[in-house]
Subunit: 401 residues, 2 copies
C-alpha cells in the first residue's frame, strides 16, 4: 500500500502549512502548522533536561486533557531560558491558532527550536497565523517539514501503512534534528500523525515504547536539549475499532509506529551535522539491559571513536578503551569485537594484522556494524552513531552567525 | 629559589635519558629512562579503565613493595590488549633495566603509550637499554621528556622548590598527554620526582590528593585510558626529617606537589590536540561536591560548548542546556552564569543583548572563566576544558597513519 503523500498529511484528515514569518532570514521557512479535521487522542514524550523551554512546559500542561487537534512550530528561536515572558509567548502562539480556528486552546500544541535565550518575536508569529491557516493543505506537509528545520540539510518525512483491525491505518511523520546526534544535542522535534482510532492510554504507551527503540537509540538517556519533543496525534478517521492495550491490534500499531520512528531517527543520523558515516553499535551478552546500553553509549559518544570513523582509521583499540571505561564491570578477557563479520578482538586480544586489514576495508563503507560481545549474560542494546568530521566543527562553531 | 634544571632531574640525585630505539619512525625519541642514585618510596595512581595495559598491571604489582629506583617508558606502542604476551614484554623491559643496573626488578617501573593492540617490539627495546643507561645524565631529563610524547606538540616539564622541615626540597616532573583532554582521552602519563624524605603512606596520600586537584580536573572521573599512570618517586636526598601525615611539613609538601601537578595539567590542556583556548569551568553553590563535579564535567565535555569556544560564538544557551542535562537536580530559576565578571544569566534568564556583546569579547580571549552558581548549597568544583577545533578532528582522524 502506498499513500499519495509522505509526511504528517499522509493519514486521512490532516492538513499542514509552512511559511516564512520573520524569525529567520528572508526566504527561509520558519513557521509550521499541522491541523487535524477532528480532535483526537495525543501522546507526548519530552526532554529530560532540567532546563525546560517554554513550549515544552505548555505542551505538558495541554497534554493533561490528552486531546489535540493542532500543532504550531517555529524554528530559529528556541524560546528557552526566557522566563515568564517566554511562557507568555508560547501561550500566545497557541491562543492565536485556537482563536482563529475556534478550537479549545488546550488542543493546540507548540514547538520551538533554534537559539536559546533570545526573546521570541511573538508579534511576527501572531501576525503570520492567518496566512499560515490560509495555506493549510495536504501537500502543505512538505512546507511544514521544511519550516521546522535548523541546521538540517534535508527535511525528514515518513509514512507507514498497515491493515489494523480490518482497516487501513496510516502513520505519517516529520522530524528535525541533526546536531543532536551523540554525544550532544541540539533540539530534536518529531511529530507523528495517524488516522488510527486508539484509546489515549494505549497511544501514550505505544509512543513511549517507540521512542525508546528509535530516538533514544541516537541520543544518550537523559542527554536531551531544552526543547526535545515527540508528539503523536491520532484522529481516528481510519474508523478501525479503537485500539486497546494488550491486543493484537495494539502490537501491530506499536510495531508500525516504531518502524516510522526508527526511519526518522536514522534520517536524523544520516543528516547529522557533517556526518559521512552511520554506524550501528550492537552490544550483546551483557548482564543487564542497562549495562548493555551504558557500554553502547560510551562507544557511541566517544570522540576518539567518532574521529577514527571519520578518518577511516581502523583503530579498534579505541573501541576497547571505551568498553573498559564505561563503568560496567566487564571482564576484558571475555570480550569479543566484530566489525560486520570480521572478528578483530577475541577474549580481549587483537586477532592480528590480517583482520586489521580486513576491517580497514569495512571502515571505508558508509554504514557498518560494530558488535561487542561481553560474554556476561544475555542482555543487549543497540545505538546508531555517526562520525565526527571537520564539518561538525564548522557548523557548530558558527551556529548563530 | 631556582634550580638549575627543569623536569625530573631537577631534584638531587636523579638522572635521565631519552633515545630512539626503533618503535617510532627514525629520528623520533621513543624510549626514556629515569634513575635515582638511591632507592626510595614511590607512590602511584593508575587508570580506572577495566581494560588495563600490561605496564599498568606490572606497576601495580611492583608498587606493593612501595620502593622504586627506576622508571622506563616507551612511546609509539601502548602494549594494551596484548594479552599474556604483553605482560611478558612489560616484565622484560623492567628486567633488562634491573639486570644491567643490578637493582631489584620490583624497583623498576614501566610505562607505555601509543597505539593499542599492536605487539610491543620488545627486542628493540631490550637491545637499546645499554645505550639508554650509558646516556643517563642530569640534562638528559630533557630528552626523556621528549621520548614519552605521542601527539603532543611540546614536552611538558615542571619544577618546584620550597623549604620544608628546614631543608630545600625540590619536586620535578614530566608529563605527556594531549588527546586525553575532555571528553575523551588518549593516554596521560606523568612522572614526578622529589628529593624529599617522606614515609611511603604519606607520599601515596599526597599523590592521590594531588591528582584529584590537578589531572582529574582535566579528565572526567574514571574516564581514563588503558595506560594512564601517575608515579611519584622520592629519594630522600634533601635530608629533611621524613615527612609524616598530619604535620605542617606534610601540608607544605602536598601543596608543592599539587602546584607542580597543576602546572603539568594545564600544560596538557594548553597543548591539547588542536587546542586554541583553555577555559576554567567553576561550579559554585552546589549541594554536594559530587554534584558540583558532575555539572562541571557535563559542561566541560559538551561538544556543543567546545565547538562554540572554538568558534568564539558566545552561545551561552549551550552552557544552560549542559547544566540542565547533567543529571543533578538543579533548579533553573536559581542558576546564575558569569563569564569572567559579566553576568549573562540571572535566575535562569538571559540578562540581555548588552551582556551578550560583552561576553562576545571575552570569548575572544585565549583563557577565561565560566562561573556557574547553582544557588543550592556551598560545595564547588572546577574543571579545565578546551575547545574542539578542526585540528582536533584532523589529528585524531589519522592518528595511526
Amino acid at each position: 500500500m502506498k499513500p499519495k503523500h509522505v509526511g504528517i498529511t499522509a493519514p486521512l484528515g490532516f492538513q499542514a502549512a509552512g511559511i516564512h514569518c520573520g524569525i529567520k532570514k528572508p526566504g527561509l521557512l520558519d513557521l509550521a502548522l499541522c491541523l487535524s479535521d477532528v480532535s483526537g487522542p495525543i501522546a507526548g514524550v519530552f526532554t529530560k533536561n532540567r532546563v525546560v523551554a517554554a513550549p515544552v512546559l505548555l505542551d505538558r500542561r495541554h497534554l493533561r486533557s490528552r486531546r489535540g487537534r493542532a500543532i504550531i512550530v517555529n524554528s530559529g528561536n528556541a524560546n528557552a531560558c526566557t522566563g515568564a515572558q517566554g511562557l507568555v509567548a508560547a501561550k500566545a502562539m497557541a491562543t492565536a491558532v485556537a482563536q482563529q480556528l475556534s478550537i479549545p486552546v488546550h488542543q493546540v500544541f507548540v514547538g520551538s527550536t533554534g537559539v536559546i535565550g533570545r526573546v521570541l518575536p511573538i508579534d511576527r508569529i501572531i501576525a503570520a497565523v492567518p496566512t499560515l491557516i490560509a495555506r493549510l493543505s495536504i501537500p502543505g506537509g512538505d512546507q511544514a517539514a521544511h519550516a521546522i528545520l535548523t541546521t538540517d540539510l534535508r527535511p525528514k518525512t515518513v509514512v507507514r501503512q498497515a491493515r489494523i483491525g480490518g482497516r487501513t491505518v496510516t502513520i505519517g511523520g516529520m522530524a528535525k534534528g541533526s546536531g543532536m546526534i551523540h554525544p550532544n544535542m541540539a533540539t530534536m522535534l518529531a511529530y507523528l500523525t495517524t488516522d488510527a482510532a486508539i484509546v489515549p492510554a494505549a497511544l501514550q504507551h505505544a509512543l513511549r515504547a517507540t521512542v525508546d527503540q528509535s530516538f533514544n537509540c541516537i541520543t544518550v538517556d537523559g542527554d536531551t536539549s531544552t526543547n526535545d519533543t515527540v508528539l503523536c496525534l491520532a484522529n481516528g478517521l481510519a474508523k478501525n475499532r479503537p485500539i486497546q492495550q494488550g491486543t493484537r491490534s495494539y502490537r501491530d500499531f506499536e510495531r508500525l509506529l516504531t518502524e516510522a520512528a526508527q526511519e526518522l531517527a536514522l534520517m536524523i543520523c544520516r543528516d547529522g551535522e557533517g556526518v559521512t558515516k552511520v554506524v550501528t553499535i550492537l552490544v550483546q551478552g551483557a548482564a543487564t539491559t542497562a549495562a548493555a546500553k551504558r557500554v553502547a553509549d560510551t562507544i557511541a559518544t566517544s570522540n576518539l571513536v567518532k574521529t577514527a570513523l571519520f578518518g577511516e582509521d581502523a583503530n579498534w583499540g579505541r573501541i576497547m578503551a571505551a568498553v573498559g571505561r564505561s563503568g560496567v564491570a566487564i571482564d576484558p578477557n571475555k570480550v569479543t569485537v566484530r566489525f560486520d563479520d570480521i572478528i578483530m578482538v577475541r577474549r580481549g586480544i587483537g586477532t592480528g594484522l590480517e583482520a586489521e586489514q580486513q576491517i580497514a576495508q569495512i571502515f571505508k563503507q558508509k554504514e557498518f556494524r560494530i558488535i561487542i560481545q561481553l560474554g556476561q549474560g544475555h542482555a543487549h542494546a543497540h545505538r546508531w552513531t555517526t562520525d565526527l568530521s571537520y564539518d561538525y566543527v564548522r557548523i557548530n562553531a558558527s551556529y548563530r552567525s
